[in-house]
């Protein structure tokens, strides 16, 4: 599956700082510990093409991962893979009821050309992110950027936006030199300079991306490896073979089928978190009726998906929101499970569609999932036409509203249950075209309370709403899977599958 871990375009996100600091169970994928050894080349296989260094154009984990190694964001994700940690911003603080965010920059932070990272650079970067047509809205609450001195600035927010810090840690919000260092945007993105642990040696979307160690990096001793070579490899066999033969050290976002065939100890598995979903276009007449959508939900064989398509790396869905998050709560009624009678009943009173088109990402797991869904819907008299597409193309079709059904994957980028919920709302309820004020008001209530019970109640209410209306259906909950050889240490993979190259070292 392509995990479109994303930067949510929340119009106004309220909530959540407390939980950001709460460290959950660590997801340390290191092979034992020991003193880090410097040197060597890290060969990584990425699951998708690299979309280039322009943050606003990125939609795939493969892109964020590489981009953040060169153009590092302000804030880092901690080594537990879940909390926020100081980065280029050595500290940050909300004031005035959450309407001001004061940021201090690390005094040692330099761009790879040696020039210091200044508050002006950050201001320029924020303006650039904000102007992006795809993700700009995430920074929409920033009204004014007040540069205090060379290393500190204050963001003036239109509303209390405590979610903003999480976006500042996201891989495609990299800090760039002011005015792109005097170059045009095009020139800059072709050969970017950032304050990250690596510099770009060469890159191509579908081939190799070669990154060299940045000797001026502000974090001491990092990065450990001299070079990172990221190669696009979509074929699961090739991934397995290259890991086994040692041609590759790590393989990102590996498929369950790959994980299942790897020898013991090669596959790292995070907590069950990624949530593949079946998105339904409610703007299409055929899917406008919630009963039809619910019928589809009851027709699907979730056991077949979890055990067959995901090779038991996953379990049947418990609700529409990704699991293993702070304040997560199940819906008050059990979530969809296979019940053909109920599906028939729902369809009987509705205008049932005869034929639907299903677009799915062209990987082995999604392909089997799509075929399961095709067979299941056939059982309730809906013929499904399958179209496989490259992950980015499938995402494109979905976000531009040009589809009936799409298989997609949803996940959080912070530890709080409201985070994926905000994403779902901000994307017009997961691209389905179904959006009500009700969801927004539930989320606003959620943000305004600090009582965990009340927060959980709000999540249940939201889960109920999306079970009843079924604009999309969660198909399973599944862990992020990473292939790692035993020579690789201290890879801190987040539950959504992204990690930093700079913490990694290889035993010689």
């Amino acid at each position: 599956m392509a995990h479109h871990t994303r930067l949510a375009a929340t119009a106004v996100a309220a909530a959540l700082t407390a939980s950001l600091l709460a460290a959950c169970a660590g997801s340390d994928a290191s092979n034992g510990s020991g003193e880090p050894v410097a040197g060597g080349t890290l060969n990584v296989l990425r699951a998708n093409p690299f979309e280039g260094f322009e943050g606003d154009k990125q939609t795939l984990n493969s892109s964020y991962q590489i981009s953040q190694a060169v153009i590092e964001p302000l804030i880092r994700i901690g080594e537990d893979g879940e909390s926020l940690a100081p980065g280029l911003a050595s500290s940050w603080r909300y004031t005035k009821g959450g309407t001001r965010l004061a940021i201090e920059l690390d005094p040692d932070a330099n761009f790879s050309d040696g020039s210091p990272v200044t508050a002006d650079d950050v201001a320029f970067s924020i303006e650039t992110w904000k102007a992006g047509p795809n993700y700009g809205a995430s920074f929409g609450s920033i009204e004014e950027i007040e540069v205090v001195d060379e290393k500190s600035l204050v963001l003036h927010l239109s509303v209390p936006d405590t979610a903003l810090v999480a976006f500042l840690a996201w891989g495609n919000a990299g800090v760039m030199p002011e005015d792109f260092g005097g170059r045009s945007a095009e020139e800059y993105y072709q050969d970017p300079i950032g304050a990250g642990a690596f510099t770009v040696d060469s890159w191509s979307a579908n081939g190799e991306v070669v990154l060299e160690k940045n000797d001026d990096y502000y974090l001491e001793d990092r990065p450990y490896v001299d070079e990172v070579v990221s190669t696009f490899a979509s074929d699961p066999n090739s991934v397995t073979l290259q890991l086994q033969s040692g041609e590759a050290d790590m393989a990102d976002e590996i498929l369950p089928v790959t994980a299942a065939t790897l020898p013991e100890g090669f596959a790292f598995q995070g907590p069950e978190h990624l949530t593949p979903v079946l998105v339904m276009n409610t703007k299409e007449a055929a899917l406008a009726d919630a009963d039809v959508r619910r019928a589809i939900g009851y027709a699907i064989d979730y056991e077949a998906i979890a055990d067959g398509a995901l090779k038991a790396y996953g379990s049947a869905p418990e609700g529409s929101l990704p699991t293993n998050l702070e304040n997560w709560a199940p819906p008050s009624e059990p979530y969809f499970s296979r019940d053909l009678d109920r599906a028939e009943e729902l369809l009987a009173g509705a205008e049932a569609p005869d034929e639907l088109d299903l677009i799915y990402p062209n990987d082995a797991s999604s392909s089997v999932m799509a075929q399961v869904i095709q067979e299941n819907l056939g059982e309730i008299g809906i013929e499904v036409e399958l179209t496989s597409a490259d992950a980015g193309t499938a995402y494109g079709a979905m976000s531009s509203g040009d589809f009936d059904l799409v298989i997609f994957s949803n996940n959080a980028i912070t530890t709080d249950a409201s985070d994926p919920a905000w994403y779902i709302v901000a994307t017009n309820t997961m691209f389905s075209g179904y959006l009500t004020d009700e969801a927004i008001s539930i989320l606003t209530d959620y943000a305004s309370t600090s009582d965990p019970a009340a927060k959980e109640a709000a999540i249940t209410e939201l889960q109920d709403l999306w079970s009843t209306e079924a604009p999309y259906i969660a198909l399973a909950h599944t862990p992020a899977l990473e292939g790692i050889r035993d020579v690789v240490h201290d890879a801190h993979v987040t539950p959504w599958g992204v990690y930093y190259f700079d913490t990694i070292w290889k035993s010689q």
């Binding site: 074929d235 699961p236 066999n237 397995t240 498929l255 089928v257 790959t258 065939t261 064989d301 056991e303 077949a304 055990d307 067959g308 398509a309 062209n362 082995a364 392909s367 089997v368 075929q371 399961v372 095709q374 067979e375 399958l386 179209t387 496989s388």
Partner: protein
């Protein structure tokens, strides 16, 4: 125009390589024809009898019994969605054979028609068609086909268009040359003065003369079609699962190659043998022509 007719198409190269043979060639030609016919015939029979040869539906999933080894219930095991592999291979003949025929016959018909019209009319129409065919021949066949299928979207319709756009050229040239030859030879003038109508002249004089060569091209096109269809499915441009198409089956089974190798090997083997059958047919025809 160059005197050396280079052709971008592998078809031309295969069909063009005539095989001069001695009298004994007639025998080997006949053997090849017979074996080729036997192979292709077997596939046709298997395609027709598929429902009686297996009790499984080739698209019936049993996902929890995916990737099973051979058993009495599933003689060749099950695929990644728990479908019966034997049934899929058998029913595959019902997909691959008709499509292969369709994508070869259509360009042949179009090419023949264009060749006749060009030969007769001459003038600007002929010139235009020939320039277009020059252009098409300058393009690498497969690349042109990939771009066409990419532009037109996945599926049989796109494959059909792609094969037709690329494939008509050889037939058109063959028939056009023959028409010109006959016109010059005066047959036609004689026939026309004798009051024969044009369609009849074509049927009586032009087509019979080109038939054998057309047939040889056709069989080598079939070889190409069978392997190319599978290649397109392999590259992700062709027919998709769960349709039991051999190329798509090979491609879909690839992730499971280390654990279930037969799922990759068998459909490939089935394609190879069918292609061999067509190749023998074409070769046999060629030998027999040479023997005359």
């Amino acid at each position: 125009m160059s005197i050396i007719s280079s052709t971008a198409s592998p078809l031309g190269a295969i069909a063009g390589a005539t095989e001069p043979t001695r009298p004994r060639g007639r025998w080997s030609g006949r053997i090849k024809l017979v074996v080729g016919l036997l192979i292709v015939g077997t596939y046709v029979v298997l395609a027709l009898l598929a429902p009686w040869l297996t009790s499984h539906d080739p698209t019936d999933q049993d996902i929890l019994n995916a990737l099973q080894p051979p058993s009495p219930e599933h003689p060749l095991g099950t695929d990644e969605a728990g479908r019966d592999e034997l049934a899929r291979l058998l029913y595959g003949a019902r997909i691959d054979l008709p499509i292969a025929f369709l994508v070869t016959v259509l360009p042949c018909l179009l090419g023949t028609a264009l060749g006749v019209v060009c030969g007769y009319l001459g003038g600007w129409f002929d010139a235009m068609v020939m320039r277009v065919s020059d252009l098409l021949q300058a393009f690498p066949t497969y690349i042109l086909m990939i771009v066409l299928v990419f532009s037109l979207g996945h599926g049989v319709r796109s494959l059909l268009i792609a094969f037709t756009v690329v494939g008509w050229v050889v037939y058109a040239r063959l028939v056009r040359t023959e028409v010109l030859r006959i016109r010059e030879a005066g047959y036609i003038t004689a026939a026309v003065t004798a009051g024969f109508r044009t369609p009849r002249i074509i049927v009586r004089h032009v087509l019979p003369n080109t038939l054998r060569q057309t047939l040889i091209y056709l069989t080598s096109d079939l070889v190409f079609a069978v392997t190319a269809l599978a290649a397109f499915s392999f590259l992700g441009f062709g027919i998709q699962q769960p349709t039991p198409e051999w190329g798509a089956m090979t491609a879909a089974a690839q992730p499971y190659m280390t654990t279930n190798m037969s799922l990759t090997v068998l459909p490939g083997l089935v394609i190879t043998v069918l292609a061999l059958g067509f190749a023998l047919l074409g070769d046999g025809l060629q030998d027999r022509r040479g023997a005359r």
